[in-house]
Amino acid sequence: MKFQIDKDVFQDALNQVQHVVSSRTTLPILSNVLIEADELGLQLSTTDLDVTITVRVPADVSVTGATTMPARRLASIVRELPTSEIKIEVNEDNAATVRSGPSFFKILGLPNSEFPVIGEFGDAKEFTIDQKLLKDALRKTAYAISTDETRYVLNGVNCIIGEGMLTLVATDGRRLAMVEQDLEFPAGNESAVIIPTKAVNELQRLLKDSGEMKVSLTNNQASFQLNESHLITKLIEGNYPNFRQVIPGEAKYRVTVEREVLHSAVKRVALLVNEKTNSIKFTFADNQVSIAANSPEIGEAEESIDVKYDGPKIVVAFNPEFVMAPLRNLDQDEVYIDLIDESSPGVLKIDEPFLYVIMPMRVAG
């Protein structure tokens, strides 16, 4: 196998696939990238047996063939190469020579036959979806995914297609983020799948701000086919809990606040958060919210910001990280905080179909 490729193109492609490679050392082949060269260019693939990513890039191939090389190492070498022209030649022992200007590298790879073959996609439901729409929806929900592996069904984004809507939900038991986007799907595509965290992260990396993408779903696998790249992932098996149980009913009071103002205020006050309770106190009253943190051994912080609120005084405590996470990932200027009382969950909303449920912490005394 022999080819010549532009450094930036190669580096970009390697960046897209290298995050998947497994840190598990039990199977050395899983830390390698599969490189297949044909007349049209290169195809790079990595897998951790759960998520598989394949990217196509144009290259000047003089001898076709396939091999595997250590993905992370190859990526760091390519990143450091001095010129934009890279020539790679692989012999039958899977030893690759990389030449770029004055640099010369020899990298020992593994035969491509050892690379796991991704299972065939059988009877799948297929549809296309706007890339930006899915990217936004994932961004608005992914941060709420639970990292608690004992509740594995929560270790992903629940994705429901049906009733003219695409619903994405993530929760960790203390907050819940949901996007409910009106979207017409061809009939017969109703499904509910749980996309695991890793696939969600990789997908966010691959998705562009324009164009469409082909999605195929089976019971235990999902495939996302973009223009040049392709992601296949196992789905989390199990039933996602009925998240509607924790979404509070009609709110009594609405606070309208500027997103960035709130975000930076919380960020500052959180610097003095009490490590034990990990909560900061929000006092809503008279078009003002005062945000306060109090840590007995360290000190205290308080900041007031102007909001739109005309209800009674409500004091409620939240985990500051849980307040900041959605604020970081939204891009609207204004957000709404809907409240019922001091102990009911607060709901953060925007003008778009999104909501974020956050449990108040119990204020001592």
């Binding site: 509740r151 929560l154 929760t171 960790d172 038991g173 203390r174 039933n239 809990p241 009925n242 998240f243 509607r244 149980q245 924790v246 009382d341 102990s343 009911s344 449990m359 119990r362």
Partner: protein, 504 residues
């Protein structure tokens, strides 16, 4: 009331205790959290179990479960700590997955409620029912309509029918016990079939305790305990045969305990069968014993003469055998108890009858089945019967045998009685000695002496044999719970061979 707290969690709490405890804890939580908060999150919660592994609550929905675990951990644990000797862990299980699960169950409800539904349910094809029953583990031929009722099992049969008609509401659990071969398994399966016929959608599981154990072990090996639990804990009717197998198996008992509790809480039916009462199962945890006893315990006795005859006539017709009623009467006179042995005797007689050209007589029948009778009843004797038989033969009264008099005749009678006690009962030397108010050395001596004399004197031997035969054949009071003999197969063959040349 409060002075019983903190409760010791070394022993898992009983249902009653759990209910009281949850009442207290939920009241405290309500005070602590306030009404709106408590009502918002804890409505429908129950206390599932409390043991060394912590507190398990059950929630009406999976999201409530997760949310409460995450957000109210401290409150819940600190409240429980007031009442328990130890509480550092709690988790929430989901009790009614119906709300979450995608498969709705209204069909079942309709069938139970409306008459129209019932008609519908009956139209389900027989083959489908059969298929469902077999996949639930039921044995095809054991139905109520081929169960021969008799005075020995009135209660058991009535209870079985009641449970099949209305599972979970009448006797929970229903516990059958009897010696083997008296129809426990038949009744268990009949309950399953009848229940399935009336409610084709209900989930029935029928297994032996051993299968349950194997499933459990497989589940542990394959790391699929969740699936195992789901399977068993979601049954509408759980039928377990041979529960005595649970004896001495602690892990299994623990698993079964939780399965049982879950079903019990959901008012599902559990039907159990064993060869002895729950209290007599070897090393069965007290909490299981008490649960098994909490429903109805029905004992199946050995069938009486008429029932035995009815059973055999039924079998004869089922199997299309040419055995006259007289011969059947001859069989049932001799073979008592165990239905399997009865069947064996019938088969044997039928076979011999087909091999012989002449009509069999009652005496022939007795000869054919002689060895069955011997094993059959040999063990049902007790020392008193033996003493009576010996006293008749020697014309020495029982008190004399029991007494201290050592005239030759009395001593001989006493020794023969001791010898027969050793031969025909399972009493130990010491026990035999106790029956005669002697020490065990005396019994050893008596047994040795009688053996020796049997070798020396043919007439003495025949006397002993005579008493023995009388005891064995004469039938004493029945011991319904005695161990049943198993007739070895080759015995049957030898007896055929012995007998068959006659007609040829």
């Amino acid at each position: 009331m409060h002075n019983i707290y903190p409760l010791n969690v070394e022993e898992p709490l009983e249902r009653q205790q759990l209910n009281t405890l949850w009442k207290l804890v939920s009241d405290d939580l309500r005070t602590d959290l306030g009404d709106p908060l408590f009502d918002r999150w804890f409505t429908g919660f129950l206390l599932d179990s409390v043991d060394l592994n912590g507190v398990v609550l059950s929630a009406p929905g999976s999201m409530y479960a997760i949310w409460v675990e995450e957000n109210f951990r401290d409150s819940v644990i600190s409240t429980f700590q007031k009442y328990l000797s130890k509480c550092d862990k709690f988790r929430v299980s989901v009790v009614a997955p119906a709300e979450d699960a995608l498969e709705p169950e209204p069909e079942v409800a309709i069938e139970e409620v409306s008459g129209k539904g019932k008609v519908l349910s009956q139209t389900i094809s027989k083959s489908k029912l059969l298929e469902r029953g077999l996949s639930a583990g039921l044995v095809e031929n054991f139905r109520f309509d081929n169960f021969v009722a008799g005075e020995n099992c009135d209660l058991a049969l009535a209870a079985a029918k009641a449970v099949a008609d209305d599972p979970g509401r009448t006797y929970q659990p229903l516990y059958f016990n009897s010696a083997c071969g008296l129809g426990k398994t038949h009744l268990l399966n009949a309950i399953g079939w009848e229940s399935l016929r009336q409610r084709p959608k209900s989930k029935i599981i029928s297994v032996t305790a051993e299968q349950f154990a194997n499933d459990y072990i497989d589940a542990i090996q394959n790391n699929s305990l969740a699936a195992f639990r789901k399977r068993y804990r979601e049954a509408d009717l759980l039928i377990i045969d041979d529960v005595q197998f649970l004896g001495r198996k602690e892990g299994l008992q623990r698993e079964f305990f939780h399965t049982f509790n879950r079903l019990n809480d959901q008012r599902k039916q559990v039907v159990l069968a064993s060869d002895c009462p729950a209290s007599e199962i070897n090393a069965l945890e007290d909490r299981l014993v008490s649960r098994f006893q909490s429903g109805l315990s029905a004992e199946i006795h050995r069938p009486g003469l008429e029932t035995r005859a009815a059973i055999l006539r039924r079998k004869r017709d089922d199997w299309d055998m040419k055995v006259s009623d007289d011969l059947i009467n001859a069989i049932v006179e001799r073979v008592k108890g165990n239905v399997r042995v009865l069947e064996g005797a019938l088969i044997r007689v039928a076979m011999v009858a087909t091999m012989n050209e002449e009509e069999l007589t009652t005496a022939d029948v007795h000869e054919v089945i002689a060895d069955i009778c011997d094993v059959q009843e040999g063990r049902q004797l007790d020392a008193e019967e033996i003493k009576r038989a010996v006293s008749e033969q020697y014309d020495v009264s029982v008190p004399l045998i029991n007494g201290k008099k050592r005239t030759a005749r009395v001593a001989e009678a006493r020794q023969v009685a001791m010898f027969l006690c050793r031969q025909l009962t399972e009493l130990s030397l010491v026990e035999v000695a106790a029956c005669f108010a002697k020490d065990h050395g005396t019994v050893i001596y008596a047994v040795k002496k009688v053996k020796k004399r049997c070798e020396d004197s043919a007439s003495f031997k025949s006397t002993v044999e005579l008493i023995k035969r009388r005891l064995v054949r004469g039938g004493g009071t029945q011991n319904p719970r005695g161990n049943d003999p198993v007739v070895p197969d080759n015995d049957q063959f030898t007896s055929f061979r012995k007998f068959s040349p006659k007609g040829k």
